[in-house]
């Protein structure tokens, strides 16, 4: 093995793949069969990069040669960078050897597009097939599907991969047209449709025949880049909501645009990465998926942008003061989930614990409730509760005054003139 060359390729092709933020290795249920190597179930983050992102998969491109010219992408055709390509065997060896040392949960393989969609996808599928059939590898495999790929190849990919994903790239069709003129939104939606139908069909089949082959057991996900085009949070979240509902997506990833290229269609190179916005979008995404919020409650025509100062649940609460206070010892789980400062696990603990005895402030604190936020919205077994008739704005100011935002260094305070 030519170690120097492999190292160089790995550096180039890992560097090119890192802007894809998807890192999940969970949701599959692949067992270790016939004393082979590995299994895939709950997902583990094996390490974290210095930017704080999780490393759970060997995330690389097969090649960064690309015939497309998408403005936001480092691997675009007209960008003057070093190009490289792995052979199928090289990817297989790296995956197996990293996996055996417990560095990774599996492989995340994507690629620049060379020749055409099917030709590229065929290579990706070949890697997965080789891992599964020749090496009895049962670890996690996430394959990126290339837009415009044929149904036959998607079908084959689903037999070997745990998760498949097609990146929507831009939240709206207009954004895509502007930045990725070679790409066509329909080419992305077609494979997603195909996958969602196949996954449903496979689940039905599994119910009838236990031995039916698995088809992408960890489902499909997608990614949108935010901050490269001027879409509002409302547009981003509504499009996410549309895909969650209609395509059975497991996850939508929001990738804050990292300025890597100078282009007049894009934000300037020194623009900060929209980290806070990205964080708020994920919080909103969680509210939709786990907390029973409808997308229109979080963003709507009156409030098309998420509040950057406070989280979206608090933001919703101060716009809807009529829903509070909630009595912790009586209210339904659904209502408790809507209280700022109470998370999913705390809410479940509260509902379980109150059957034994009414809960007071001390106990709520122990259970994990963020009292500094929740206190304005709840009553419990105590005579102390917020009696003042505070407006939403008052509450926001109180909470912000006593909390240290982790993003404080990013906010610019206005100069005091007098």
């Amino acid at each position: 093995m030519n170690v120097g060359r492999i190292t160089e390729k790995l550096n180039i092709l890992a560097d090119a793949a890192k802007y894809d933020v998807s890192c999940a290795s969970s949701g599959s249920n692949r067992k270790n069969k016939d004393k082979g190597l590995g299994n895939a179930s709950n997902g583990i983050c094996h390490s974290y990069t210095e930017d704080g992102r999780c490393v759970s998969l060997l995330k690389i491109l097969l090649t960064n040669h690309c015939i497309f010219d998408c403005a936001y992408c480092v691997s675009r055709k007209n960008n003057d960078i070093k190009r490289a390509a792995f052979t199928v065997q090289e990817v297989v060896d790296l995956t197996i050897n990293f996996y055996r040392r417990n560095y990774i949960e599996g492989l995340f393989l994507s690629s620049g597009i060379f020749k055409n969609a099917d030709y590229t996808m065929e290579r990706l599928v070949h890697v997965a097939k080789k891992l599964r059939t020749e090496h009895n590898f049962n670890g996690y495999i996430h394959l990126k599907s290339i837009p415009g790929v044929s149904a036959e190849l998607m079908q084959e990919a689903g037999l070997y991969a745990d998760r498949l994903s097609v990146n929507l790239e831009m939240p709206t069709e207009a954004g895509l047209k502007l930045l990725a003129p070679d790409k066509n939104r329909q080419d992305m939606i077609d494979p997603m449709h195909f996958l969602s139908r196949e996954i449903i069909r496979n689940t039905e089949e599994k119910k009838l025949f236990k031995n039916a082959p698995m088809f992408a057991p960890a489902g499909q996900s997608t990614q949108v880049i935010v901050g490269a085009t001027p879409e509002s949070d409302q547009q981003v979240l509504q499009s996410a909501n549309y895909f969650y509902r209609n395509f059975n997506l497991k996850r939508v990833y929001y990738s804050g645009y990292v300025p890597v290229l100078a282009d007049r269609r894009l934000p300037a190179l020194n623009t900060a990465v929209p980290l806070v916005r990205e964080n708020r979008l994920y919080q909103a995404d969680w509210l939709m998926r786990f907390y029973g919020f409808h997308v229109n409650e979080i963003v709507n025509n009156q409030n098309p942008l998420l509040d950057l100062d406070i989280d979206p649940k608090l933001s919703w609460a101060i716009r809807n003061m009529q829903a509070f206070p909630v009595d912790i010892n009586k209210a339904d789980l659904q209502l408790i989930l809507r209280v700022p400062g109470i998370g999913l696990l705390s809410a479940q603990k509260i509902v379980a614990a109150r059957k034994f005895a009414g809960l007071g402030w001390e106990q709520l604190k122990k259970i994990g409730v963020a009292i500094n936020r929740a206190r304005y919205f709840i009553t419990c077994k105590s005579n102390e509760f917020e009696r003042r008739d505070l407006t939403g704005q008052n509450i926001k100011q109180f909470i912000m005054a006593q909390s240290q935002s982790k993003y404080i260094k990013n906010t610019q305070t206005q100069l005091n003139l007098f």
Partner: protein, 252 residues
């Protein structure tokens, strides 16, 4: 106040519970270890582990708790977290003093504490599943050293045994000086004497030929996927606290 001293085993703990109810010893303080070492300061009652008595208490626990509840209690005790014996004991007393199953009575301080302990132990177990870094030795065995905060090695068997079935591996807790070895068929606990093995010459000779190559490739990969413009050291350290770094190939 009665001070009870027991041997630190789960059976010992249950025997202590038996004595407390039998002899109506309350309030009590429960300590681990040799009873002579603390006899100087106060009067202590040594508990002699008794399987029959422990068995009766366990039977009682099984009646009042779900199977998972008993399991959680066992894990919380086995983790050997300093100073938690009295809380575990408080939990057991709460179990026996109530008419119903109190596993979810989070308003009670002992139930809450036990759930906190369990969370800490599970997090540590999960960290070990993530942070174990095997190194391939000459004879094909994959070896990893760990220093977990709590005694979680027994909890790792299931995960590693179902994942790495076609390679021999060993995970060694150098803090507690015992390890787990898988020989392609089964796992067993082992203790090793490192004096002879840990001479520098022997350590280097012990690695397989390509071990260094893959460690370097992994370090390279780790550096390549970092996005410098998103640097966030606080978050990084929160996810991988510094005490784990010395066993992480990519952080050495």
């Amino acid at each position: 106040m009665n001070t009870l001293v027991y041997d630190g085993s789960f059976e010992g703990l249950l025997t202590a519970v038996f004595e407390i109810y039998e002899r109506k010893l309350y309030p009590v303080k429960l300590l681990k270890g040799e009873w002579r070492s603390c006899a100087l300061f106060e009067e202590v009652i040594p508990i002699v582990t008794d399987e029959a008595r422990a068995g009766r208490v366990l039977k009682g626990l099984r009646k009042k708790l779900s199977a998972a509840g008993v399991q959680r209690l066992y894990i919380s005790h086995m983790a050997e977290i300093a100073g938690e014996d009295c809380n575990v004991l408080g939990f057991i007393r709460h179990v026996f003093d109530s008419d119903q199953n109190i596993e979810e009575d989070y308003g009670n301080r002992y139930v809450m504490r036990l759930s906190e302990i369990l969370k800490m132990v599970r997090r540590e177990k999960h960290r070990m599943e993530a942070f174990v870094r095997f190194q391939k030795l000459n004879d094909g065995t994959f070896y990893a050293a760990i220093e977990p905060d709590f005694n979680v090695l027994p909890l790792l068997i299931k995960h590693f045994k179902s994942r790495y079935t076609d390679q021999k591996w060993m995970i060694y807790d150098i803090k507690r000086n015992y390890g787990l070895y898988y020989d392609l068929h089964d796992t067993q606990f082992i203790e090793m004497n490192f004096d002879e093995l840990s001479k520098p010459v022997n350590v280097i000779a012990a690695y397989s030929e390509d071990e260094g190559v893959y460690q370097d490739l992994w370090k390279n990969y780790f550096n390549s996927i970092n996005i410098a413009s998103r640097k966030n050291t606080r978050l990084h350290v929160r996810h991988i606290p510094r005490r784990y770094w010395r066993h992480l190939t990519e952080k050495i």
